[in-house]
């Protein structure tokens, strides 16, 4: 109905102003920096250049990009593979229990990211819990060095973002009309074919939302590679960090940041399109 606040735009104005001043303006500023040269002693020299973007193709940096993308893709895939069965199990649990299960699945996500990552150092290091368990189990060889490796980074990222993917997929599953699944079974499809032909396509928007989120946050991650990958292991996030805090090449760091934003926008747009198309199909089917 036509409930009107006195002036909706006036109510939104302070927050919008805040976001424009402290989010949009800073992002536009570094978008600008990305097209300028760095000064000899750091800082920004206002001479237009595309060099910062060309440097991305320098084999040294291109390798980091490819590595980051590969790791982010692996993390995304693993997170979905673990999250889907978990979300499915929650959605099939008794209705009264679902909110609690969901809450505890998501709880770690809201707790301190550093601490969650640090917990894996405790588990994985040479004197850590896993090596200790192995030793009690009779393992005699050298302690396994699991920390400071690509595998550790991947585990850390999957661990940190898994709750969100569970949440995204669950919200799709909980909206799924169970009579569609029953109809499919009634029409002669087995459980597996029903899952592949009905359940999965209809919950793809949730999978896409979770996947895009994990990919974007993983590829730009800084803390996990720094802590679990050790100093030797670099991803784009670390590269940006270095340009601003150690290499003092702000324009290049800005260009890298803009590339991360571009990747984010591209993936979100794709995901929105895919979701629209999927819901379009559902509407079509309902007619």
């Amino acid at each position: 109905m036509s409930f009107q606040a006195t002036r909706p735009n006036l109510l939104a104005a302070p927050a919008v102003a805040w976001l424009l001043a402290f989010m949009v303006a800073p992002c536009l500023l570094i978008l600008g920096y990305a097209f300028f040269e760095r000064g000899t002693w750091g800082g920004v020299v206002y001479t237009f250049t595309l060099e910062n973007f060309e440097r991305v193709f320098d084999p040294l940096y291109a390798r980091i990009f490819v590595n980051s993308a590969r790791i982010a893709a692996t993390v995304t895939l693993l997170a979905i593979l673990v999250a889907y069965p978990a979300a499915y199990a929650i959605s099939r649990a008794p209705r009264s229990r679902q909110p609690i299960l969901l809450f505890f699945a998501v709880l770690p996500f809201w707790s301190n990211y550093l601490i969650r990552t640090y917990a894996w150092i405790v588990l994985l290091n040479r004197e850590g819990l896993i090596n200790n368990v192995l030793r009690w189990g009779g393992y005699e060889g050298e302690p396994l060095s699991m920390l400071y490796s690509e595998g550790a980074v991947i585990i850390g990222l999957v661990y940190n973002y898994l709750p969100f993917v569970i949440l995204a997929i669950y919200s799709s599953l909980s909206r799924l009309d169970m009579s569609l699944v029953e109809a499919s079974r009634d029409l002669g499809a087995g459980p597996i074919r029903t899952f592949l032909r009905v359940t999965l396509p209809l919950t793809l928007p949730g999978v896409a939302a979770g996947g895009v989120f994990v990919f974007v946050l993983s590829i730009g991650n800084f803390v996990t590679p720094a802590l679990l990958g050790g100093g030797r292991f670099q991803m784009i996030g670390n590269l940006v960090y270095d340009q601003f805090l150690t290499a003092n090449d702000w324009p290049f760091g800005a260009a890298l940041g803009m590339i991360l934003i571009a990747i984010m926008i591209a993936l979100l747009t794709l995901q929105a399109r895919a979701t629209n198309r999927a819901s379009g199909t559902v509407r079509e089917a309902e007619r």
């Binding site: 927050a15 570094i30 499915y88 699945a105 760091g253």
Partner: protein, 262 residues
């Protein structure tokens, strides 16, 4: 996880494995914080001595105080702005894609990018960095989360009660304080609690906008430098305390939100 039927045995097993994966690292951490020896090698007995050690560490206490100051200011500002924003968006006659994107952006933008952007911005404007710049920055994502929680409540909000209040003789102002605000209250508090935990836990943006020197170090920054230094039993104790505070705030937030949906 009781109450599953037999067909759901597979689901139950899945949940046990996934919840094990999610909680094992946390449980180990909490367990070690009470280990006399402080290391995973041996369990030498229950002790709270590492918690005691924290209390004697003035660096940690100072960082904790800074964190609290930042979180309180950021939460108060974000709760007011985010609530007004939510009401503003939900009462617009037409949805605005630009506005939606603007409000969604803080939740998905890679934090390292926002962090370097804010650093560039503040130094370009010659703003002295410190706790106040962390507050300015934290409000960005805090208000987005407050807004999304209040909006969810507004979607189930029966606007005719606002009209009913006017019809019964209440002015718009009285209507807001006696009807709209009390009904939205649980969502607003839930949003504020979430914003508070986000601020307490946020590391990267604080790291970039805090400036040099110990005076504006927050707890996550303190923890980060301790972790880089190596595993110490104090970190386990500190981590346990920080996680407990977050979990308590979230439980409360969830409880409030559930209550209002009944």
């Amino acid at each position: 996880m009781m109450g599953f039927t037999r067909q759901n045995a597979g689901g139950r097993a899945t949940l046990i494995v996934v919840f094990g994966f999610l909680y094992l690292p946390i449980v180990v951490l909490v367990g070690l914080s009470f280990n006399e020896a402080g290391l995973p090698t041996v369990w030498s007995g229950f002790s709270t001595k590492w918690y005691g050690a924290l209390l004697g560490n003035s660096d940690i206490l100072g960082a904790a105080w800074n964190t609290l100051v930042v979180a309180v200011f950021a939460t108060v500002i974000a709760t007011v702005l985010g609530t007004l924003l939510a009401i503003g968006i939900e009462t617009r006659r037409r949805a605005s894609t630009g506005l939606e994107a603007l409000v969604f952006a803080p939740m998905v933008i890679p934090d390292i990018v926002l962090a370097v952007a804010l650093l560039s911005f503040f130094s370009r404007l010659d703003v002295t960095l410190g706790l106040h710049t962390i507050v300015l920055s934290h409000v960005i994502f805090d208000l987005a989360f407050v807004c999304s929680i209040v909006r969810a409540r507004l979607k189930h909000f029966d606007y005719s009660i606002v009209e009913a209040s006017r019809d019964l003789g209440a002015s718009p102002w009285t209507t807001f304080w006696r009807v709209t605000f009390p009904v939205l209250m649980p969502a607003i508090v839930a949003g504020a609690l979430l914003a508070f935990t986000l601020s307490i836990d946020e590391f990267i943006i604080a790291f970039f906008t805090a400036g040099a020197g110990r005076s504006s170090i927050t707890l996550p920054m303190q923890i980060y430098s301790m972790i880089r230094f190596g595993i110490t039993p104090e970190i386990n104790a500190l981590a346990t305390i920080v996680m407990s505070v977050s979990a308590a705030a979230l439980l409360l937030s969830q409880w409030l939100n559930k209550d209002q949906l009944r």
